[in-house]
Amino acid sequence: MSTTPSDRTLGMGARLRSRLGSLSLSVYGVLGFLFLYLPIVILVIFSFNDSRSTSQWAGFTTDWYRQMIEDRQIILSLWNSLFVAIISTAIATVLGTLAAMAMERYSFRGKMAMDAVLYLPIIIPDIAMAIMLLIFFNVSGIGFQPWEVQFFGNRLAVPYSVIIGHVAFNISFVAVVVRARLANMDRTLEEAAQDLYANTWQTFRRVTLPMLMPGILGGALLAFTLSLDDFVITFFTSGAGFNTLPVRVFGMIRRGVTPKINAVSTLMLAGSFLLILISIISRMRSGEDEDAIQFGL
């Protein structure tokens, strides 16, 4: 099964190249990737600029990074980001995985409705979801109570509402990823386990879970990334005075452009690259074909 697609796609590649593949297409491709990467590269370069300007080069410095590290507010919001991401990812991964198993493995009344409920948080724009949650936390009386917690030596006060908001949009993403993995999984493997005297729990523990693990890890990684990156929902569900890193960056941008923002941005970019790297390595470990790398979702 795995031999034909690559043969076929190899043929496709050669064909497209030979028929229409010309110098102009290659030039175009290079320009396309330049368009994608140049702004990021420039952003990173000016985080080392020895001037307040982000457009005129005045020599190299790492002073902006020193300022960033010394900025207690920034560091605190970084810890806030990590805490929210870890907690919401853990909850969303469990809930999303269970939901995915129900949706993929059973047919039952109300499945269509449940499908809609699971897909809606992905489809609707985050601003709409953000104001929905804002109104809800106000009306329900849940409010924006903080969870006072000691986290790696930092006293954090993280509103429950933010964590809830992050779980709410992450459940769906985890469910989609795990479902895709489940759909590709051979069901007879579970039947084989049952046939070999494994009960429901043993079948899940010894066969389903190990086979599903790459999907669950992928879903968790996606949830973690989305949670770290989220600005809009955090912004509207945090009440007053709570900042994750993106919320703080947004506030800084509003007050004016400085290379310090570039420095924070570079830090966040590095974090994203690290997560992408982890994702690639874990996928290669799990022995999936290279094509799998392409799918963020």
């Binding site: 046939d195 070999l196 079948t203 190990p210």
Partner: protein, 367 residues
């Protein structure tokens, strides 16, 4: 039910929504028997097997294994094991871990597990490959692992769902013989699902032919081939000629009339057929002989003889298929063995006389 029944299906029905996959099937499979469920895809054979294994629950009817009614017992509580069509080997476990899985689940002790896994792998000639992952094995080896993984549990009954379907022809033939030997060696009842009639004939003690959710005939291979009791069975197993006819008499002998008033005796008639009914006369191609006019002996009451013209010759190595257009306008194929190189062959357009023993003619309902 009788004592020596390994598995019994009693009036079992399985419906998936409006689709009836298995329609009132009753079967008695004897202890130690190599029993095949044979039929085209969608005939209900795999569903029947899955109900015995416990993967599907019958809509109505009962299933007994070793005399015990299974009811809603889940697969892990049933004394049967399955060899799956695509083997379903756990890709994240080694070969030995795969084979040990069932023993671990039924809480055998560590030493015994090790010993029995070793024995099972030896039995299927895979000793020394226990530390490999299934992906690193060839198709035939994977097949053996699947067998070992099931047999190591010493089930009362082994269920095999087209286990050789994924192998190439040569390997399949070799595995057929090996499977049969293995079955005789371990003495376990095998229930074998296949759509390959040759495979079923080669290996089985008895065969149940299924079509459209129903069991049409249960018989030993020879009886199934020589004495099919349904038009479908005659058609599905081996090749046969169907000649449209009308029943002229049922006693003292069975006589059918072909187009052009040709009357022929036949050996057997399907129950429920009356004089005057439109029927199909079935004669297997290898039962038919061709003669030149001067070779013909005196006609007896048990011989069928029709004149015709040779229309087409197809040489297939061991024999040559002669298509003959009969006087009645019908065409029949005669398979003549190529015994002698110097034999004078028939030529196209040559006049001939076809002849077969009346006992080989079987009369089936038209549809």
């Amino acid at each position: 039910m009788s004592e020596e029944c390994a598995v019994e299906l009693r009036d079992v029905v399985k419906a998936f929504g409006p689709f009836v996959a298995v329609n009132h099937v009753s079967l008695q499979i004897r202890d130690g028997e190599f029993f095949s469920l044979l039929g085209p895809s969608g005939c209900g054979k795999t569903t029947s097997l899955r109900m015995i294994a416990g993967f599907e629950m019958p809509t109505s009817g009962h299933i007994y294994i070793g005399g015990a009614q299974q009811g809603y017992l889940p697969p892990n509580k049933r004394p049967v094991n399955t060899v799956f069509q695509q083997y379903a080997l756990f890709p994240h476990m080694t070969v030995a871990q795969n084979v040990a899985f069932g023993l671990e689940m039924s809480h055998a002790n560590k030493g015994e597990i090790g010993r029995r896994v070793h024995e099972a792998l030896e039995m299927v000639h895979l000793g020394g490959l226990g530390t490999r992952k299934p992906k690193q094995l060839s198709g035939g080896q994977q097949q053996r692992v699947a067998l070992a993984r099931a047999l190591v549990n010493r089930p009362k009954v082994l269920l095999l769902d087209e286990p050789l379907g994924a192998l190439d022809l040569k390997l399949r033939k070799a595995m057929q013989i090996e499977l049969k030997n293995l079955q005789e060696q371990v003495g376990i009842t095998f229930i074998y699902v296949t759509h390959d009639q040759e495979e079923a004939l080669t290996m089985s003690d008895r065969i149940a032919v299924m079509d459209k959710g129903q069991v049409l005939q249960v018989a030993e291979p020879e009886a199934l081939y020589e004495q099919p009791t349904h038009r479908f069975t005659a058609d599905f197993i081996g090749e046969t000629n169907f000649i449209p006819a009308r029943v002229a008499a049922l006693s003292p002998t069975i006589l059918v009339e072909l187009a052009g008033g040709i009357r022929l005796p036949a050996g057997w008639v399907e129950p429920g057929i009356a004089v005057g009914d439109r029927v199909m006369l079935s004669v297997r191609p290898e039962k038919i002989n061709l003669y030149e006019a001067h070779e013909l002996e005196e006609l007896t009451a048990t011989t069928c003889r029709v004149r015709g013209v040779v229309e087409r010759l197809v040489y297939v190595g061991t024999d040559t298929h002669h298509t003959v257009r009969l006087e009645s306008g019908d065409r029949v194929v005669a398979r003549l063995q190529n015994l002698h190189v110097d034999e004078e062959p028939w030529e196209m357009g040559e006049a001939t006389t076809v002849q077969w023993e009346a006992a080989h003619g079987r009369v089936f309902k038209e549809a």
